[in-house]
Symmetry: C2
């Protein structure tokens, strides 16, 4: 009885706070970012090559010889603790077959060809050479061509979309459009240049990608992103609501005072916030916080000392493998932590090493990790773009094993035109990579809805 009373009281108080928060926490006019901010060397300013240059991935024989030698020469990792899977991190017993595969079996030439199967380019945007894939669909004149910007995150790469690209650029049954896809490497990732000075966070990358699309001739376009790709995309929907026609995310997540209060309210009465069968994806909060403590050490380190840990990871391919594949293990299914091999068989070995090669060949792991520091800097947290609403139509694809889950009634605090969400009973963080058909199907369905919402049929 006393407990009931306490809960009722808490709910009333928190509801009041939530109502009040809704009034004060969501200001209307987003900050203006410098749309020409220069991230490259100062001396290049005004002199950069503005042309769009073809690019090909090149695994030179020097690179391959050196890499193989490093892998074969790797220092014996210490034994894992008895009866431990991946709970202390990558199990060293599971390491050996991966090292052997990368050093002795991974067909570098064949994979280089594979990675070059789509047209790739570099173009200078705000001082940085940005690497991107661009594939135009081969469809009849009756089929609309819809531009779609696909944005990866960490520790992924453009490689995550290779299985999805041919499906996205083909007309699918029931749809009168197909996608022209533009898939950039984030600045500092893979073959895109890194900023030479502090400050390039997700919002600023959003500016770069908007300018990239503009340089490619796209005044308006759709965007898709997960992981940092969703951080960048979320910023773009606030900064460029007229250019972004719709946003499909496989990791839609917002964080502002109001969303946090609603989340806390739901901890008392989940049914106010989340459908009962999905409550376990959010609650109890104690489980969520334990999970953050357990799984977000990498985030904490990368947000503070990326240049330190980056030295080892760029010098040791074995170390890079353990560091990155650990994420493909636990982020695909949390329960993989208990297994001896990390449950990595959801992906082929080629897939995972292809993705590693994007970091190794370009020596970009340090600059990739700096994005955490920039996103968490006082200046960029101060921007607080999650505090602003956007009218861009949005769709959330929510995989079973994604890192976070938020229900529509929280997501709509920011994405006022969230047209819906697809809740999956399968799949993890790297959904385009893991379940490309499911991913592509959802993107088509969502963009169809965005187009209807805009009242468009065949024209863009």
């Amino acid at each position: 009885m006393a407990k009931m009373l306490f809960i009722t009281l808490m709910v009333l108080i928190i509801s009041g706070i939530v109502w009040y928060a809704a009034k004060v926490f969501m200001p209307q006019s987003p900050p203006q970012l410098d749309l020409e901010e220069w991230w490259g060397p100062k001396e290049l300013k005004g002199k950069q090559d503005r042309s769009i240059r073809p690019f090909q991935v090149n695994f030179s024989s020097e690179l391959v010889t050196d890499l193989r030698q490093r892998l074969k020469n790797h220092r014996p990792a210490v034994q894992p603790l008895e009866e431990v899977g991946f709970q202390y991190g990558f199990n060293s017993k599971a390491l050996a077959p991966w090292i052997k595969y990368w050093a002795e079996e991974y067909p570098f030439e064949e994979r280089q060809k594979f990675l070059n199967k789509y047209p790739q380019y570099k173009v200078n945007v705000q001082g940085l050479d940005i690497h991107f894939i661009r594939v135009k669909p081969e469809v009849s004149d009756k089929v609309s061509v819809v531009p779609l910007l696909l944005m990866h995150g960490w520790p992924g790469s453009v490689r995550e979309f290779y299985e999805a690209i041919p499906l996205l650029t083909k007309q699918q049954d029931g749809y009168d459009f197909a996608f022209e896809v533009i898939v950039p490497s984030l600045p500092g990732y893979g073959f895109s240049d890194a900023a030479v000075r502090p400050g390039l966070g997700p919002a600023q990358i959003g500016v770069i990608f908007r300018n990239l699309m503009k340089q490619l001739g796209f005044k308006q376009f759709y965007i898709q992103g997960g992981d940092w790709g969703s951080g960048i995309a979320g910023a773009m929907t606030v900064l460029f609501p007229k250019e972004v026609l719709g946003y499909h995310s496989n990791m839609l997540f917002i964080s502002n005072g109001y969303s946090q209060l609603r989340t806390i309210l739901g901890a008392f009465i989940p049914s106010l916030i989340v459908e009962p069968h999905l409550a376990e994806r959010m609650y109890p909060l104690s489980k969520f916080f334990a999970y953050l403590m357990e799984e977000f050490g990498y985030f904490h380190l990368q947000a503070t000392k990326p240049d330190t840990v980056g030295v080892a990871l760029s010098d040791s391919p074995t170390g890079l493998l353990a560091y990155i594949l650990e994420k493909f293990s636990s982020w695909t299914k949390f329960e993989n932590r208990a297994s001896q091999d990390g449950g990595l068989s959801k992906f082929t070995r080629e897939q995972l090493i292809d993705n590693l090669m994007m970091y190794w060949a370009s020596n970009s792991v340090t600059t990739s990790m700096r994005l955490y520091s920039e996103a968490m800097s006082n200046k960029n947290r101060g921007l607080g773009l999650d505090k602003y609403t956007t009218t861009v139509p949005t769709w959330a694809l929510q995989a079973k094993n994604e890192l976070f889950y938020q229900p529509p009634n929280i997501l709509r605090i920011k994405f006022t035109n969230l047209l819906g969400n697809t809740v999956l009973d399968d799949g993890g963080h790297f959904i385009a990579f893991e379940l490309p058909e499911v991913f592509v199907k959802d993107v088509f369905m969502a963009v169809q809805k965005f187009r209807s919402w805009h009242g468009m049929k065949t024209e863009l």
Copy 2:
């Protein structure tokens, strides 16, 4: 006025809670640990060699050749961001001279001789071969010989005490005793074996070290520790209050509900908790929390995924150097973060590379980092040894740039016989290494006080 009222109210409320907490938070009977718990391979149980075997550090030519080759072959680290010192971690421009020094100038043979200047041994305790230095003083019969266990932490080693050992084992003016020092490598550190199964946290290491001392014939002894050494020592004072005659710490710190409440109380009225001129070492708490966020990513990672990051750090000496020397930079003086070279000149290059060799030669960085995971495991946090008081006489040496500061009135919650503290206006986390004379002087002074407190003069 409203603010004054609010503060008064808060202070009254918190004072009440503090008073109540003092009653309930400090139980009296500490838990009993298994004093024979077996940490080695099961099949060794009952069959281990119990003898004390001499040990020497050996930098084999294979080890040196391989290490030099790895260092020279290190992959070019990416450029630091413009106008950045160590704020993003180890500045890669400061890396080159260190790599060159280690690969080309560090005199391996000479340093091996140096590291073998004191008698070293190994002895099996609870299944693990524990490496230790033991130096008996050469003094006349009139001078008492007092056993002192010196305990290092991460990322230190027994090397931290090499400058202090000759001073500790010599009679100093004004004292009628000198120390016989026992300096073990922590299990999993340097040349001490690592546990083969989960669970070996600071308290359990305390049991191992007590058993080590017993095997060496010391029924009672003094202890000294900083960093994990102070975690281990703090546990020993609770578990073995009769064996531990006194405890000198250069990083005395406690954490329980009561200490936290007092700390919060002090945030409102610092003068209740801390002398005015020392308040800035604790407050404002916002500064302290920002510092924890900024500087404790390594802790978060090592407490959760030591085996992952360990793969890279044990494969890349360049990476290990950056990872460990970053700590010698920021923990010696926080302001070193802003400098281009990390302010590492407080130590000689030989000193810092000697210490690195303790991790590299023994390939122990992964097992050393596991201590964070064990200390933070539910089981070991559940022990909550900081909740128990100890009567062991204690002295705190408090360097200006130590990671944490707590005043006597908080430390006495646990260390009821804290005889005093020495507040330094200089020095950092690795005080024995950085300022050996200051360190030794304080240890003598403290142990003198412990002996007086026990009513001892010349006998032990």
